[in-house]
């Protein structure tokens, strides 16, 4: 599935807010993969359930949403995150569970091994690697890279300052980079992980 042009999606957003079903489907196909991958870092294999809940709310509240396409992605990510945290609270089976978010997310991180069952190996492996980061770093990286938000918008989703998100994402990338095999020695190992996914976009890197 090729991602549709942003302009077209922007128009689809307006039309969906007016009740157009096809436009809503277009939005769903663009946003849902982002959300389910983001949710995967929080709730692992329950990401689909969480995003299903999130879409109930998105579908219900879409008419009252105000903003552009980027705002819409941030809004949906926020909803998804809230549903994920609700899910974790329920799952924790602690009625009063007032666990701090960090702890909930850490609990989720223990169960994220199922993520790669979602889809193809390469994307799944990449997500798994990101999911193994400390939760705040994984969230920051996923919001920036997968959901497509800037630091400010990601900060809104996470309830953090943009600077904190930048730092977390930066640390996450550094950690990922450290985990990448050394280029010359393990290039052959590293590449297949990534390469299958590239969908032809970036030819330059695979070549060595």
């Amino acid at each position: 599935m090729a991602r549709v042009e942003e302009d077209e999606l922007g128009r689809a957003l307006r039309a969906a807010q007016d009740g157009d079903e096809e436009s809503f489907r277009m939005l769903y196909r663009d946003v849902q993969p982002r959300l389910i991958r983001f949710a995967g870092a929080l709730v692992g294999g329950d990401a689909e359930d969480v995003t299903s809940e999130a879409w109930l709310q998105i579908a219900r509240d879409l008419p009252s949403f105000r903003g552009d396409l980027d705002g819409f992605r941030g809004w949906t990510a926020t909803i998804t995150r809230h549903r994920a945290l609700d899910h974790l609270r329920r799952k924790s089976r602690r009625p009063g569970s007032d666990l701090p978010i960090e702890e909930l997310v850490s609990m989720a991180a223990d169960t994220d091994t199922e993520v790669d069952a979602l889809d193809g190996i390469a994307t799944g492996d990449a997500l798994r690697l990101i999911g193994e980061l400390p939760p705040d770093q994984a969230e920051a990286v996923l919001l920036r890279v997968v959901v497509g938000l800037d630091a400010k918008s990601a900060g809104k989703v996470l309830g953090k300052r943009p600077g904190a998100v930048r730092t977390a994402a930066y640390r996450g990338l550094r950690r990922l980079a450290e985990r990448l095999p050394a280029p010359r020695e393990d290039a052959a190992d590293a590449r297949p992980l990534v390469r299958g996914d590239k969908s032809g976009g970036t030819g330059a890197e695979g070549v060595t």
Binding site: R34, A59, R60, D119, L127, G148, A177, P183
Partner: protein, 232 residues
């Protein structure tokens, strides 16, 4: 790949570029993989989401229209407000001339326009019907005025009606005083507005158009009435 790849060493700037989707580091491939287009398995919930979408109570157009409304409301209000002011002012202008001059409402505006240049003649008629018809004016005067007011502008009605009401009791004195046309107008009928307006139709137009103008004219009437009825 070989150029950029020093995996452990990643400066912030490069990291920021990577997060923005730029190439230039071994990590780019990993991140691109994570952001690869969706797969069917990820879209399994589409129909359920669409069902929720279709089932959702939808103020649909209200939503977008609301934005437009908010955007335009102030302007619309301003336009309507301005329009109403103009209307009331125009009405005030038109009626303001009439009621004082001729107790019959309908023909007066036309007369007015026709005779627009003959304010003097009007108060003359004015004075005569007042004196002549003072009884008619006093009993029926208030309801007639109300009619005028209703037809014209609500704002005026109340204001004029009230002062009239207050003024009506001193009618007797008015009648006695009635000989001076200006005082008559001021006392009797909220005709006061007319009288004043007559004095300065030009002024009455400029000022009296707006509700404010009316208010201003009223105190004038009060002044006149007060002058008359020290009686009050």
């Amino acid at each position: 790949m070989s150029d950029h790849t020093e995996p452990g060493r990643l400066d912030e700037r490069t990291a920021e570029h990577l997060l923005d989707g730029a190439d230039g580091h071994a990590l780019h491939a990993l991140l691109a993989a994570a952001a690869a287009p969706g797969r069917p398995a990820e879209l399994a919930g589409e129909d359920a989401a669409v069902a929720a979408f279709l089932a959702a109570p939808r103020p649909a157009r209200r939503a977008r229209a609301a934005g437009l409304r908010r955007f335009l409301t102030a302007k619309i209000i301003a336009v309507l407000g301005g329009g109403s002011i103009l209307l009331s002012g125009g009405v005030a202008y038109a009626t303001g001339n009439f009621p004082g001059q001729s107790p019959e409402p309908a023909p007066s505006p036309s007369q007015h326009r026709h005779e627009g240049t003959n304010p003097d003649s009007i108060p003359a008629t004015h004075g005569s019907p007042d004196t002549g018809s003072t009884p008619t004016v006093s009993p029926s005067g208030t309801p007639k005025r109300q009619k005028h007011g209703k037809a014209t502008a609500p704002g005026q009605q109340k204001k004029t009606a009230n002062p009239n009401a207050t003024k009506t009791p001193p009618r007797g004195s008015e009648n006695s005083n009635g000989s001076p046309p200006g005082s008559n107008s001021g006392n009797g009928n909220g005709n006061s507005g007319n009288g004043n307006g007559n004095n300065g139709n030009g002024n009455g137009n400029g000022n009296g158009n707006s509700g404010n103008g009316n208010e201003k004219s009223e105190p004038q009437t009060y002044v006149t009435t007060e002058a008359n009825p020290g009686a009050q």
